[in-house]
Structure formats: C-alpha cells, structure tokens
Symmetry: D2
Subunit: 355 residues, 4 copies
C-alpha cells in the first residue's frame, strides 16, 4: 500500500531556505487534516509541533490518527483551536496549516487575531481565500509557481478545480479554447468531509451513484471559472456537473470544449506533453489511455489525457487525482515546499497504491 | 428489496392479443439473461419453456439463478443453444429472447436457420441488429412505440443509449439542439458482462473509477449518434465518455449541448414534463433535483432532469436507469408487451429498491 | 432485482381470518420501517393507513421511500407518532407495527396509553419486549409457531438471534449440544440503523472489517442465550462475536459447539433436513455448500448448512439471512400472517436478488 | 494514504551483515508479488535486479505496477521465469523471492535446478514448503525468530495462519489452551489471488459475504493445526471457517478455546502484553477494544485483542492484519531482514493507512 516518499533526505537549507519548519495543523481530525498530519509527520523538513481539533482536544493523537503506530512516534498533543493563538504568539510554530471547513478559519482568524498574524506562513485549505483576498495566493503550482514561491499566505485550491484546471491548462494558456467548458467530474465520498451524516452513510451510498448541485450551483464551478478566466485572460464560462460515486477517495474530471481552430489529436497531445514536461506531479497519458483514480491513490500526481474529436473541432481533456493528496494535503505540502525554497517534491510521492 | 410488480393480473387477451406467450431465453447465464429469466418467471403472461446457456447446459436452472427458491418453482431445463433450434421448429415456443453477447446471435442464426425463422417473435439484446438490418425494429418505446407494436423482430437498445437518448429526447424531437452533444456517463460493472476477467475483478475495481474508450470509440456512442440523428432528422455528432465506477448496476448520463435559441430553465422543464406526461416509465425530476441510480435500482423507470445555463444557451440534461432493467431485460419485456398487444407495464415495476 | 411475491392472491378470509388488515407503521423512516412499508404496500391483505415518523412527518411519503414510484400509488400521509394515538382510539387501524429503536416504543406506549391499548395487534421490532414482558410473544415462527398464531402482542426477534438460532435449532431441540456455544457472525451496515454517524459513514467503512462488542457484551448475545436456553430446557451459555463488514445488508452466522455424543456429518444433515422439511422459509444447503448472503438478499428465506468435525465431537452450523427481511420486516409480516390466520407466506418471497 | 517507512537509513552492514542484497522477484504480477516489488523498491538495503512474470515478460515494469511513477525510477526488466535461471547461475542476484501460486515454485525448481540452487537466499510465499521439507524454515518471526536468523531457505506463512497464530500464541506457548480451537476468520478478496475469474468478479462479490471450505477443508486450517501443535508440543485440533467479504485487503481472525484452568480477563491481557512487549509488529489492544482491518491497512503490524469469558473457562482471542503485508510481502521482508542480520523493521512500516 505504501511506497517510500521520493526524497527522504533532509532539505539542505542552502541559501535562505530554512532547514526545518515547525508546523501547527488546525482542523486535524477531518480527512484533509489527517492526511496533512500524516504527510507532515513523514516529511523530513517538518516538525509537527501542534495538532488542533475541537473534537479531539485533550485526547492522545493516536486515537485520532487511526492506524498510526503511536508507540513509535512522538506525537504532539491535540489542543483546542483557541490554544493555538497563544502558541502562535509565543513563536512555538512558524507555519500554520488550516484544514478547517469553509468559513471556519476566516471566523477563527477574526476571533483570534494573533493566530492570523503571528505565523510566518499560513496555508488555508478551505475556499475562503481562493478569491485572493487578504493577500492570499492561489496555490496551484503548475499555473502559479512564481507567485507561490514568494507567498506567506496561501489558499490551497479545491479538489475539483485542481483536476479540471490541470486537464485543460495547456489549451487555456494557449488560447485554444472557446467557452463554455463542459465539465463532468466524479468524486469519492471523502470529498464531502468527515462529519457523520445520513447523506454520506455507507448504506445510502454503497452500490449507487448520483449527480448533485449540477450546472452553475457548486462553489467549485465558480472557482474553476474564476481561475480559468484569469489564466485565459478572457471570461471562460462553464457548466460543472459533479457526481458522487461509491469510493472513499479519488476524482476523475472530463472537460469538453470547442476549439477556436481545428487541432489534430497529435497536435493537442504534443502541446500537453511539452507544457507538462518539467512538472514533477503531472503525467500525460499516451493516446488511447485514459485516467483512473487507482493509479494516483495516495499519490500527489495528476494523470492527464487529451485528444480532439469531430475533425479537430472539439477538445476532450481528462484528469485524475487523489482528492486528499493532490486535491488537498499533498498540494498543500507541495506549496509549502515552494514557499520554503525547498525541492518541490520533498516529502511527497508521485507513486500510487492501487490496492 | 423487492416490491410487487405493478400489475399481476393476467393479460386479458381481448381482441387479437394472445393470453399467454411461450418464451425461450438464449444466453440465460449472463447478467441480462438472468434478469430476463427472473422477470419472465414472474410475468403473469409469460411461460418460460426453455433456458439455453452453453455454460450451464445440463445443470439444474436453480444452480444458475442464484437466490431463486427452486423448490417452489417449476423451472425449465437448461439446454444447449443448439437444442433450441429443434424446439423452435417443433413450435414449442413462440418467442425467443437472445441475451447473447454481440455477434453471437447473428452467428448462431446463420448456423441454425430454423432458430432464426421459426419463432413468431425474436428480441435481440445485443448490438447486432440495432442498425435495423434484417427487419429488426429499434426498441426504444418512448421514441418508437408505433413501430414496435407491429414488430416481430426487435433489437433492444444499449444501456447507455437508452439513458442518453431519454435524457434529451424532448429537445432533439423539438429541434432545439445543435450538435455536437457532449455525453458523459457512468456505469456499474454488470454492464461489462458476466465473463470473469481481471479487468472486472473486485480488487481491481473497488475504491476506484476510470474512463474508458472515450470520445468516438465506444460502440454505444455510434448507436446514440445514429438514433439521435434519426430522431432529429439531421446529423447529430457527439462525444461519449463512459466511466466505470465501483457498483454492480446503474447508469447515470449527463448531456450538454448548445441550444439553437435561448431557452429558459422553466421552458425546458415544461417541455420535458409535457413530452413524458403519458410515459409509464419516465419520471421528470423537479428542478434542482438530480438523478441517482439507487432510485431506479431494480426498476424499469428512467429518471430524467433538465435545465438550461449561460442565459439559456446551454442545455444540461441528465438521466439515470438500472442498466439491467430499463437498460436491458426490463425494456425487452416492455417491448414484448407492446409486440403482444398487452398493457405495456405488465410484469414490470416502476419502483426502485435502493438498499 | 425484484421477483414476484410468492402469493399475490388476496387471503380468502375463510373461517375467522379477516380478509384485510389495516396497518399503521411507526418509525417508518428507519431501514426496517422502510422495508416494512414496502412489503406491506405490496401485500395483498394489508392496507397501509398510516406511516408515522418524527423526522418526515408532514412531508409526502414519496420523499421518504426513495425509489417508490409515488405517482402510481396511493400512499398514506406521514404523521407524527403522537398523531397515531388518536387514529388508534378512533379505530382507524387494527394493526400497529413499531419499527422504533430500542426503548422508544416502550416510552411512547407509556406516554400514549391508547396507542398501546387500542390496536388489536401490535408487533414490536425492537428488543424491548423480547423478554416476554406485557404478554408479548417471541416471534420466531420456526420455533414458536403455535404461540404466535394466537398472539395479539408480538416481539419480533433480533437479526443476529434469528440467524444463529435457526442455524442450530434442530440440534438444540434434540439435546445434542453442550454449552457454551461459540457464535461468530457478520452483519451488513443497515443493522446499525439509519441515523447518520461517523461510525457508519462510507469512508470509515469501505474496504474494512471490524469486530465490535465481542464476547458477552452485545444485547443480541443475551437474547440468543435466553431463547436457546428456553428451547434446550437447560442453560445454554454462549460467546457472541459480531463483525461489521462493508455491505449494506445481510448476516452470516457460524456456530461451533461440543456434541454430547459423537454425531456423523450425515446424521446431522439428516436431522436438519427432517426438522426443516415443512418450513417455507428455511433451506438446508447440501453438504459441502455454505451460506452466502446474496442468495437471500431481498428474501425472507434463511439458508442453513451443518456438519460435524473431529470424529463427530464438534458441531459446525451456519446460516445466512437478509437482516432487513427475515431478520426484521419480512419476519414481522410472516408473524402477522400467522396472527391473522392467513397462509404464512402471503406477501413474502423466498427468492433472493443477488445483484 | 502513504506514510514513511520506519527506517530509511541504509543498513550499516556492521559485522557480517551485507550492506545490500540483490533481489529477484518471481511471480511479480500477482498481488503479493506486486506488493513485494513495491516494498523492495522502497527498501534502503535492497536492489531489485529482476522481476519475473510469465504474463508480463517483455513489457515495461511500469505497465505491471499500476500507479508507480515509472519515469522517476529505474525499474528492472520484466523477464520470463526461465530467464532467471541464467541470471541466478551468473550470480546476478543473491536473493530470490518466489510469489508464485502453490505448486508452481516447486515445479519450476525441479525444472530449473540452478534457480533453486544458486541463490544464497530463497523465500517462498507459497504453501509448498511450509511443511519444512528441503530445509525450509517456517517464517513466523514472533514464534521462530531464532531459526529464521540463520536460514537460507524460508517458507513464508499463509495469511490466515499468521493472524490466527498471533491471536493465540501466548496462550498456546503457555499451555493454557485445550483443543479444539474454533477459528472463524474474514478475508478480503486479494487473498484469492489475481487471476480473473467469475468467483472473484466485482458484481459477484459487492454487497455480499459468504462462507467457503469451512471446517477442516481449507489448507490454511491444516497449516494452523500443524504449527500450533508444534508450538504447543501437543496436538491442537481446530475448526477453521473462512469468510469472503467485500473488501480488497485485510483479515480478521477470531479464536475461541477452552482454557485448561480458569483465567481472568486481566490475567490473559497481562500475559499477552508481556509476551508481545518487545515485538515491533504486534500491538495488544486495550481491553474492550477489538481489531479492525483499516488500522493495519498497508502496515506490517498485527493488532491483537484477548479476553476470557464464562468465569474464565473460555478464551476469546482475535487479530487483524493486512493479508498482503504482514500476511505476505511485508512478513517476507521482515524475514529477509532477519536472514540478512539487519534491523528487523528495515524498510517496513507499522503504520496503517485507513482511508
């Protein structure tokens, strides 16, 4: 199931890059929070100094992180979110990663100004600052690596937008596509968060698939529109149809669009390959091969496939990611590596664990 | 799990409608064959006189039909497909339903002419005659009810084409849509047939989703194009992206298309409701509600939802069916009811069994 | 998925048996409540006059019973549980089936005496009266058919006790077994009820199995001990190890015990066959064949297999049921048929729907 | 999903321990073969010099190992099993791990004597040499660490025997238990191997559980009996009831037995804790807590829980493992570490990845 992280050597800390960052994880008991805690505990350059969770505060971290062999690890205490403010003010950590649900970090930050001010670096996994407010940089490394490197406040992208944007990025940057984009995507259930509810219960989901908030209703559709329009330099309307399917994790996204001029399948494939040649976490699949979530399970990689249809008039681009890794915690670590001036792949794996 | 069939009264046989049909099921050990055998055994107007399966020939039918309480039912013997030719010539059955894979019935018919000639009625669940060759009528009742009523040779539609066509039928008939259509659909694994293979094994599929044969590769895409073009009276190119998701049965289809003139969401909803008002097996979902497979599990119903986006320029239409019922065996029974002059709903249920 | 109920003919009502019973379902929105509503709506002798659910009161029944084709059925209104007291006093129904969780019906009955007094027949699916208090008869037809026939107050058995008891009933009645019994059983998730919780959420359960409340902790262990001791006429201690496995429905129970004298496998098989010969809902599997839940999915049947080991010193008996049918709603209907003097199989099926 | 291996430092090679072993994996395309390849590729002391698979020979390893980011890894070629004989004779590898199915390695070894003779170390994951023939040592480290350290030929235990033996080992060693043992266990589907078949197909397994080869039929029951009798120093008959449940990986085993003298729950718990105190890959769960497979998913750890019942007359002991790790490939690596004189935990993790 597991495979080694791609680099275990401690970041060398040459130049201005710090050798070690001290991290506090806020909202550590949700799925992205747990995934972030796991990745951070295994990261050679990160020291996890605090885990905050309203639900688990006061309990040993081992109870919260199922499966972790707590006996062999020095785990930090699990504290109330409010307790982080003091630690922040005291300089006990320099990096805060908030894995709270949408709205919660913004509210907490207003309530506890030192928590929002003191940390050198803040990464917010919620949707709250993806509009760029308060100086937050949108953290999709493949599109905005330059801005991220210098950032101290970072909004981590949504899982669906990560998959859909990476599927079409080369075409959008090149001005090949005319809106609207037609985006259809599937998600595993962990994307709905970790609060127990009838809607996400096993019996209600096993053996069935459904569409929800289709068209222009889902917040992730708005996020895609905003970011793709920014990249294109022109409004890029889209329709977004999300599906819930009976699996724990993974996203597959399919995008159709009209091409502004006829493009052959080979020409599209070449552009995608060229654009993603240096990207450590994007793989362009060979023609005739299509993405599957199990190839990226547990991995920070995004698999992408592209072709054109109808005499080159229609683009068909697809992508698969693990929503908890490249779609959440893994991408947060990738962004943090960039912010710290470390090799972008530190502590991350591009390998999936299909079974 | 089960709920009563909607009409258990025996067809009255008024006029020229026969009171009883004697049915042979060919390819009875595949998923659609088994489902057809179950439905036919429970149908008040059908007597199942033969089950043919190369794999199970000579064994008791109870071994093949897992779960059936064989003690309380008189099940016909399971014979070799070739043995049906004699029975056919001897007039032992009047209705043949072939649930063989693509190509197999066509080959067998060539090999055993009496089998292809003798039965009064033949329904073929494979793709072989969906092109209308040899006088086969395409059996989508909602679109071609008139032709079906008089037919003696019927090609049952594919599961994906049933879902995608019912999603957009009112719009295509009304000339509202411009091609290409962008079709994205999910299927449960039973759609891949019952032959054991690594590709459809539990470990390879659990917890993962994938795209396969996307664009213009899948035969069902060609079938949709042909039938929708026929209905529209004009070529209707499309892209079809099928996904395999980890569930046994069910299909969800999503179709995007450009509208030839701006149409409001309410106007689209009204057209769909009006068009499907008399249909016993199509339900138009209320605005803001989207299809889910569990609502139609075990049912012959198709749930449809429609809206428009981008100021009325884009149509978004969706549908869900049970691929083994409305997408295969149930639709075959519906067609057979029509061919026999019986109430179309005889022996079928519109109720789903979600858990 | 569905197959016809085994008898659709209306009970003839000869002798003192009423031709029709008017039923109110209390707790209709839980899994056993929904299953009971489905079975009752399809039962030829039952008229469902009220559905009560605190959560769904005031909403159309169609919203609660997912998949049901509400348009074609006259569904009763969904009312507050308290509203049933008035209906009961007014004689609007004669049969009350309570599908409330443990403790809730006992509490409601204390609060609303007319509800507990007025109905001619009450069936309680909870564990509250399985001790026989207040004149409630324990409703396992295969063991206590005589008592059930004359009952007006009935406690429906638990799902695990139904499976475990039917696995060993012939041996216990014959005095073959020495305690303790070692019972290991698996259950699908619907056995945990329909309240949304983290513990029963999809992501927490998919791909994993667990043991819970093992040994002598689980209330169903105590129920088994009590009933098996009653049947044996001697104390029958046992250990009960329940497992939660990732499926929606179904139970498999395995029982080991020491035999009080050496018994050959053939002798055990013969006793089981003989004992269950007349039972419409128990099937003894042939030697070498073992139970599987999919053979009884949606069915009221219990599949049983038995052998002996270690030179006849050890009994190994196993059983599979659908926890929502033979383990809950189906068995309640079976009991109700007996209470009403109708054929025991009315409105029930012994056929499973594996896929 | 992934978490770092517990030690990434290269074995120091002090004393006679080699600094690096060169490994060939035979049968690399099955589930245990793939898992072994993954673990070996990530192991700091192992160089994987050959992967052999009849099915994949000649194809790039990246096709076989789904999800692996082939671009960033130097993968060895995939060759025919026969080609390994030459490499072995040429001394290209010193360690052979056979992940072939039962019977196949024995047959191949007879056919290609150099392959069986040349490698310094051979580990066989099949059942063929678990009887100790040809000098093969039974590789359950917790019971036979001393023998393993000096071995050059090792038979890796079966998955069920690993779980069942670790559940009761302290009690058996201490002479507390009287036979027969009553063993009931659940397995995920990967335990059935990777050959595609109807029996292991998704549609046949999803949503259902079954018992198979129960009593004394399953080869793993015989293996448990043999090893536990050896450990006890007295015959230890048992009944073994395996269940197939719908998940990819994981085993839970439950063992009941009579105690030869009354033992309190606390006394049993203390013995288990004491016995396993120094074991890096066994964790004794606190009283009242029971094993679950997700806590050990992807981990080489075995979780064990124990209590006594019926006034101390009955032992109830349970265990959970990942069948592909502690039950196959991980245990093979653990054994190899011992054989090489390296720290036993090298390249292995005790952490699970529940989601």
């Amino acid at each position: 199931m597991t495979l080694a992280v791609s680099s275990r050597s401690r970041p060398s800390g040459t130049g201005s890059a710090p050798a070690q960052a001290r991290v506090a994880v806020l909202g550590a008991s949700g799925y992205s929070g747990l995934e972030l805690a796991r990745l951070a505990l295994a990261h050679p350059g990160l020291e996890v100094v605090a885990l905050a969770s309203r639900e688990h505060a006061g309990h040993p971290a081992g109870e919260m992180i199922v499966g972790l062999d707590a006996d062999t690890r020095r785990l930090p205490p699990v504290v109330e979110p409010t307790a982080l403010a003091e630690s922040a003010a005291a300089g006990e950590f320099d990096t805060l990663v908030s894995c709270l649900p949408h709205g919660a970090w913004r509210a907490l930050a207003a309530e506890l100004p030192p928590l929002a001010r003191s940390p050198k670096r803040i990464i917010d996994l919620s949707a709250d600052r993806r509009d760029g407010s308060d100086g937050y940089v949108y953290g999709l490394p493949e599109a905005f690596r330059g801005e991220i490197a210098g950032a101290t406040r970072l909004a981590n992208p949504g899982c669906y937008p990560t998959a859909a944007t990476l599927a079409v990025l080369p075409g959008v940057e090149s001005g090949w596509l005319e809106g609207p984009l037609y985006v259809s995507a599937l998600s595993g259930v962990s994307g709905a968060g970790r609060a127990g509810s009838l809607r996400t219960s096993f019996v209600e989901l096993e053996g069935g698939a459904s569409i929800y908030r289709a068209g222009t209703e889902h917040a992730h559709g708005k996020e895609m529109t905003a970011q793709l329009s920014r990249i294109a330099g022109t409004p890029m309307p889209l329709s977004f149809v999300p599906h819930l399917v009976p699996m724990a994790r993974g996203i597959v996204a399919t995008v159709h669009a009209k091409l502004s001029r006829p493009v052959s399948p080979g020409e599209a494939y070449s552009l995608w390959c060229e654009r993603y040649a240096g990207e450590p976490f994007v793989r362009v699949l060979e023609p005739g091969t299509w993405p599957e979530t199990r190839a990226v399970r547990g991995s920070n990689r995004c698999d992408v496939a592209v072709t054109t249809l109808h005499g080159g008039e229609t683009l068909l681009a697809t992508a698969a990611i693990d929503n908890l890794v490249k779609g959440a915690a893994g991408q947060a670590i990738q962004n943090l590596n960039l912010m710290l001036g470390w090799p972008e792949t530190t502590g991350l794996t591009a390998d999936g664990s299909p079974w």
